[in-house]
Amino acid sequence: MKNLLLFTFSLISIISMSQGLLPTSDIKYMDGKITNIEKLAKKNDLVVISLWATWCAPCKNELDAINEVYIDWVEETGVKLYAVSVDDSRTINRVKPLVNGRNWGFTVLLDTNNELRRELNSPSIPLTILIKNGKIVYRHSGYTPGAEYDLYEKIKKYK
């Protein structure tokens, strides 16, 4: 147990030191085209990636909440949001009907075998990351009501 604690402590001590790598796992657009986060980050200075799933209630709440203000965000900061679904083959068929049923106005991508999710080490979702000029500048897991405003504050900070 002592060793475990020491081990954990050692890890924490180096956590604050690094930027982290941008993930390169293949993810797909809804039409099957392949891309990855590194490529998406090159298309826009300011990018938000949100990992979600059709079975995750807080994820849907977060994306619903962002959806209501997304047009304003884009206008004011030029940010682009990619909502990456980690639904596996059990639930993937719900993605498109749900996205349209809820009128989401951002791009939705697919990480069906959870390779991106693993690369981002995100056992719990939602996970939101903000990428500025190819570097992860902010990361947050979980969603609480109103957290979209905090995210927007961060986006404005890095505008």
């Binding site: 081990f7 639930t91 075998n113």
Partner: protein, 595 residues
Amino acid sequence: MEKILFPLLIILPLIAFTQNKGLEDKETKIEKLLSKLSVSLESNTQIYIDDKVLGDFRDPIPSFNLQDKKTRSNNYLNIDYRIIEGLTVGTQIESYEPLPLVSYYPGYKGTDITNYYINYKNKKWNITLGHFYEQFGSGLLLRAFEQRQLGLNNAIRGGRIKYNINEYINITALYGNNRIGFEHSKANLFGFDINTNLIGVFNINKIPRLSFGFSYVGKYEDFEPPIDIYNPDNIFDDTNFPELVNSYALRLGIDFGKLFIDTEYSVKGKDALFSSAALGLPKILEGRYFDGSAILLTTGYTVKGFGLSSTFRRLENMSFFSDRELSKPGANPFGMSNINFVPALTKQQDYSLANIYIYQAQPQLYIQNFAGQSGEIGGQIDVYYSFKKGTAIGGKYGTKLTINTSYWSLLDATFDQVNNQYNSELLKFGEKLYSDFNFEIKKKWNKRLSSMLFFQNMTINKNLAINGLYMSSNKELNANVIVAESIVKFNKGKSIRIELQHMSTKEDLKNWTGAALEYVFNRNLSLYITDIYNYGNDDKDKQIHFFNIGGNFTKNKVRIEINYGRQRGGLFCVGGVCRFVPENTGISMNINMLL
């Protein structure tokens, strides 16, 4: 415990390195190193406590129980290092110390380097040596993946090449052996997969997607004919024994924009089958080998504010294991060594009482068990609808409705148990296993208050619901679940969530009720209290409260969850895959962090 030192040996030099800040060039070196390094840790620790009501803590695995270890921890450390652009090496170290959490696969014992790989990637090529995860199509033939909550990791160790011919055609070829706990399967897997989007290939502009895919999966495992010790003259005839199982899948998908259709047809090659456990020790059936098949058809229709999707699936003898021995009835309670992935196509619910009775897919073939079973057939329908803002139901903010319904039954088949043969119907539904109707309405009343109402009515084969195994009988379990939830938002990110649940059923443990209260201080910290109460249990002593209190703390790259309470026993399912967990009480701590 000593093995814990191993990962430390990797990490400590790094730390020592980082603490030496005397020289500037050294510091930039460190920065350089760290910018290429990605480290993450997930740690799930549990302290089990003897409980006055449930009794003393017991591990269902006798040898573990003897060790009497009440503090257990499952840990996963990932280290990836990008040597140069495109070239990455990485490893996963798993540590289950001093023993794995209760009800995990007992082969997870101690600490080991479980996965390692080297990967090269450029625009066209993606080459991996070592461990990798993969999925062909919808996974009906092959899916290597990790699900830590269930203790599943069937990563393949070997080699994989992916090649993108262009934006529209990509191919994958792989070879290797599945992980089984800390070991690897003896069976060799060969796979090939091609995916094309024909709109790019033939330059079609009218529709967004016309996709075609083909997969091959081969499994090879040596076979030593068993020797009959009572009658050595009785020699097992291994002519035509399928040491190599060849499987194929075809996929076709078309998307017209509003309407989409996806189909997949898979054939699993002839494979060996065991006799029933009810007839003594299960033995491989001599000279009788069976192939399997799967049909999957999904259609959807979506316009703004409305979405509909329906899925039909027929599975016949589609369990596919790398180790033949693990397909033996009763030999594989932890679901190890799967090559393919056949989840239950029902809706995964969020609320605890809607997760007591769960359907699990029935792809397996048993000729001699009870009346026999050869697969399942059924489907589900999902509807998403947003009532427009400004209408009577929609109100100022709009109202969202979600409906799901599903029906699953055994494949209709006749069994000749004496001669080990069976005959299945193509599209005829046999004995009913499960049906479900559920809906969810979400409404935002004003800036601060929003509510949700959920209702579910389900019917399930009773033994399947309780023990996870289908048993032919007329006994069905019918249950109704109702959940109401409200969230009130305050200023500065504070909010309260209140949830009330009820489940009524005349079978098994009968009625339950439940409640949850969650207070969010800000986006970094929240606390909760939950309770579910089996007030309807016939046995007064078993009318137990499963009370839990806990909290979540998250900041940047760290997430910590602490919980104290009593856990309900039974099937614990994630994504339609289940494992059996005994009732227990304790403190759990989950830590997740990223470098």
